[in-house]
Point group: C2
Chain length 254, copies 2
DNA sequence: GAGTGGTCTAGACCACCAG
DNA sequence: TGGTGGTCTAGACCACTCC
């Protein structure tokens, strides 16, 4: 079918999926004010015809915007622009991103200090995850991440050597500033896709306090995370101490 | 079309959606061991025919199980049982549940102490959310929630009176033990569907420490949450202090 | 080239809501 | 009663992976 937006079958062989494109159109219409708060959208079959896509594709696009909190569906009545469409409801803690990316997203320039790499035994918090062998060896990175030069997150990262064998994994150079473990793992064909994350408030001990430039006894947020590849294999364990006065976490709960 | 599972069109007029039912069948097969780790499933058209559903419905069901971490899709190759299918990857912090339900889910009996209700001004943490009028009045509940009689969460909850007018909202009786604000709001036609949640580690002050039976200066997890109805209207603001030695939070990041 | 998952379409029937 | 969103089907073509 032809398509005024050149989106129809036969016109698209690459690029983002159609629902994403349609969602972008509608999102721009809402955020740009062309669709006002509480305004009703045309009925799905009609809007689908206007946009030259099937109703299934349109519904997929609308679902994306509902997830973002921009639209609301009311069965038997219609689909409406949310009454608070401008609010940004995107998760921070829910999105799986590298620490490097996290710092960039908050608008800072990432940096690193105190970088050390070594070979360690299984970390105490993850012995049961990576198997019972207490002798198994891990590539262990210690570093404190900076945002515009200010320490914000202290990281202890463990990758089992068993997942690195026969890959072209490149360890960080000693003076690395914005080296991303995620990107290095991805380049080696090991992309973390899911992480289980335990959220724990703790008091900064002398070591953490010194690294994060805090007084001992200050509250910090400790995230203990087990990362899995798409296959379900655990590939990375991290313990990250966050100075939440500088980087705050948000979650969207549904 | 007929259906050996009596799931086909014409046989179902109610009940859960077909993808959910198909997902349950596959989930039971994986968890029951009839589909072993790393085993390949039949190709989608074939499996869809076996289960007497369309390929679209089957794909929907498979997507559910991928979200749960039980299956993995590999383009051009096939769909496989995850190599770590038994791991439970369901979020705790991501799910929007009432405190009452949270305590029940952890296997405890919920209780309440120190229940007080009053009329308050807008809470400091949410003035910009509920409008600029500093004189607006809120129904304010203070209470400490117990799990098997032990204090675990101290709650300060604020509902604007403006959302309660012309509803049959019933405030908690003074001796309420497992009264749920969520359920009371839902019964009044105001169901919170989304919440923005800020995650903040803090030190217990004297008041919080006394209520949670902790020593002042112990770390606790403070969640500041703004809840929205499906329309996008903010309907509830909470500040909850958690004793994370008794209730731990998990997030699944993707 | 053969087989797999990824995407999109067109159309049907249903449940719900308002008048 | 008519219109809306909710669900499901059948079929098509594409991109990717392996042989």
């Amino acid at each position: 079918m032809s398509n005024v937006l050149q989106l129809g079958v036969g016109f698209r062989t690459a690029g983002p999926p159609l629902p994403e494109l349609i969602a972008s159109l509608l999102r721009d219409a809402v955020l740009g004010g062309r669709l006002g708060a509480n305004q009703r959208l045309p009925a799905e079959p009609e809007l689908a015809e206007q946009l030259k896509v099937s109703r299934a594709t349109l519904r997929h696009a609308v679902s994306i915007l509902i997830q973002e909190g921009l639209l609301v569906r009311r069965r038997g009545i219609g689909t409406f622009v949310s009454s608070v469409p401008s609010r940004v409801l995107r998760g921070g803690l829910t999105d799986l991103t590298s620490t490097t990316e996290l710092i960039r997203r908050q608008g800072y320039t990432p940096g690193t200090e105190g970088l050390e790499t070594q070979t360690s035994k299984a970390p105490a918090g993850a012995i049961d995850i990576f198997g019972q062998d207490p002798e198994s060896a891990f590539f262990h990175i210690t570093r404190t991440r900076l945002a515009d030069g200010v320490p914000v997150i202290h990281c202890e990262e463990f990758v089992p050597y068993s997942v690195l064998t026969d890959t072209n994994f490149k360890p960080p150079p000693p003076s690395a500033q914005d080296w991303s473990l995620y990107e290095a793992l991805s380049a080696a064909g090991i992309t973390p896709t899911v992480a289980e994350c335990r959220v724990i408030p703790v008091l900064a001990d002398k070591s953490i306090a010194k690294r994060l430039r805090l007084r001992p006894g200050q509250p910090v947020l400790l995230l203990k995370q087990v990362h899995y590849a798409a296959s379900g294999e655990p590939v990375l364990y991290c313990e990250n101490w966050h100075n939440t006065e500088l980087i705050e976490f948000q979650v969207v709960r549904r």
